[in-house]
Amino acid sequence: MPTPAIIATGVVKWFGEGEARTQALRDVSLDAYFGEILYVVGPSGSGKTTLLSVLSGILKPDAGGVSVEGTDIWNLSSDKLADFRLNKIGFVFQDYHLFPRLTTAENVAIPLILRRKPWGAAVREATRYLEIVGLKGRADLPPVKLSGGEQQRVAIARAMVVQPDILIMDEPTASLDGDTGVAIVGFVKKNILNEKRCILIVTHDDRISEFATRILKMQDGRITETAKGGST
């Protein structure tokens, strides 16, 4: 029996006020397990990103609870929650959000620096991770000198540098051409997924479904279907 990494129960989230008030998540419950790549798919506005935000501790739900490795994250103080995100979760944002004024290695080193690792050691560790994601020799370049696929790899290296238990990727292939997108997710599955790690991916991209363990389909703030992925 695999160990659950995330257990969400009865999650409800509203946005807006008055007539503009809309329900983004309607009583959503799910389990995510270590060793699996869980896709969350659905049309735009179905609540995928909201669900990922609630699960990762950056958006507080109006009702329901989220337990990550046995910790009820929404009962943590804001500082403890920040520490939780820093130590347990790696984020790969859709637009990468790399600092253009820092070198690639310094960008990757940021989570380590936030964990009070000395600058030199953090950059050395980050450089090692850049080599792991295939960007050897790119450490001293600014991110703007890299291609979209390479920037995505930098973002992955930044997410992985603290060895998080949970990796959250938001539309990882949205800014990439087809082949590069498939290569990136294939790389993640091959090199990053392991029995002690859970990967959640929000995507529209059917071309990468072969890498999923499970696929959750969302519609109007609800999980309407759970399917086995191509790698099951």
Partner: protein
């Protein structure tokens, strides 16, 4: 924390265009503030030149006197009374007035003439040429070598001139701590000769210079002078009185205030706006840092560090630039009145801290409001 501050530093200085704009804004503001205030301080020092140069501890004068330039004669009995006051070590008269000097080439030049007590020569300047005892010689004057000195044709010992149809001879050349405000040369002579050579009103003593026996006697002397209907002030009080006159009675102070406020607004406008734009451009990145696990206070430290670093660097550059230009100006224009004081530096520092604080406030507010979810949502 040093690591995150290094990130803040690199984000700031690697954005060369904005960093330069920020520095220019603060440097320019500091330069304007320090320059304006230095000119003010320099002018005020010049306005008090006679008080500074004579160096008396206390001055007795007519209560209506507001600056050393508009003396009101006081009767001789005040000098006698001062000498018999309790707590007075000694008291001497001094003459201070203006005159027209006719030079050897036939031109006229305004001068300030200071007549020192014949017996003591109290307040005499330091001589760099000639002998002080020569001041007792016939028609003797000592000229001060200050930026106004060339206006007398660069005189030397033995140079002759006329004062009020009296022959005058330079017997010494002196230096003093401060030259005057009004751009005229200064001549020293004895009190009695000053009275002989210059037309005078009924009362001839400009000031009675007093040396109290102890600092505790200052108030007692003031009370005794007040009882006579005159005003006794210490050297510092006289300087403050002169400064207050120029600040409050001439519009000088208001102009300085307006210029200082304008400098502050210019600095705040350039730096505040540039820093706010800098924060806005990096806002998503700050949001991403929050999502990754940066705490709010760490982001606040980053912004405070960036503004403080820029403000202090701009402060140093502004003062350096101001000092450089004042030095340069004084080389070309020896009578250029500008003086950087600790007060000026303190005022500029307060202004810079305010600019940094206001710039930080809007940046911090924006960063604290950004939600990591906004980054996810795009």
């Amino acid at each position: 924390m040093t690591g995150i501050l290094k990130v803040a530093y690199k984000l700031l200085v690697n954005d060369k265009a904005k960093f330069t704009a920020l520095l220019v804004g603060i440097t320019f503001a500091v330069f304007l503030i320090v320059q304006m205030d230095a000119m003010f301080a320099g002018s005020m020092k010049r306005a008090s030149a006679t008080v500074i140069n004579l160096g008396a501890s206390m001055w007795i004068m007519d209560p209506a006197v507001q600056t050393v330039a508009n003396t009101i004669g006081i009767p001789n009995y005040v000098l006698d009374a001062a000498r018999s006051m309790q707590g007075v070590s000694y008291a001497v008269p001094v003459y201070s007035g203006g005159a027209l000097v006719k030079l050897a080439d036939g031109t006229y030049q305004s001068v300030t003439i200071v007549g020192l007590d014949d017996t003591t020569l109290f307040g005499r300047p330091e001589l760099i040429a000639g002998k002080i005892e020569d001041i007792y010689a016939e028609n003797a004057f000592i000229v001060v070598k200050d930026p106004e000195f060339p206006k007398l044709g660069n005189p030397h010992v033995g140079t002759e001139f006329q004062v009020n149809d009296h022959r005058g001879v330079i017997v010494g050349i002196a230096r003093v701590a401060s030259s005057g405000l009004f751009g005229v040369p200064t001549l020293y002579t004895t009190y009695e000769r000053a009275l002989q050579y210059l037309p005078n009103p009924r009362f001839t003593i400009s000031y009675v210079l007093v040396q109290p026996k102890t600092p505790a006697d200052v108030n007692r002397i003031k009370e005794q002078a007040r009882a006579l209907g005159y005003l006794a002030v210490t050297k510092d009080e006289f300087i403050n009185r002169i400064t207050d006159f120029y600040i409050y009675q001439t519009g000088f102070g208001m102009n300085m205030l307006i210029m200082t406020v304008m400098s502050f607004i210019v600095g705040l406008s350039i730096s505040g706006q540039t820093f706010y734009t800098f924060v806005l451009e990096n806002l998503e990145k700050f949001g991403a840092l929050k999502a990754i696990g940066a705490k709010s206070h760490e982001l606040v430290f980053m912004i405070l560090f960036q503004t403080s670093f820029t403000a202090l660097l701009g402060y140093g550059l502004g003062i350096g630039l101001c000092a450089f230009l004042i030095t340069l100006a004084k080389r070309r224009l020896p009578d250029y009145a500008a003086l950087i004081t600790y007060g000026n530096l303190g005022l500029a520092f307060v202004m810079v801290v305010l600019i940094a604080a206001i710039s930080s406030y809007f940046g911090v507010r924006k960063v604290l409001r950004i939600e990591p979810f906004d980054i996810f949502r795009g």
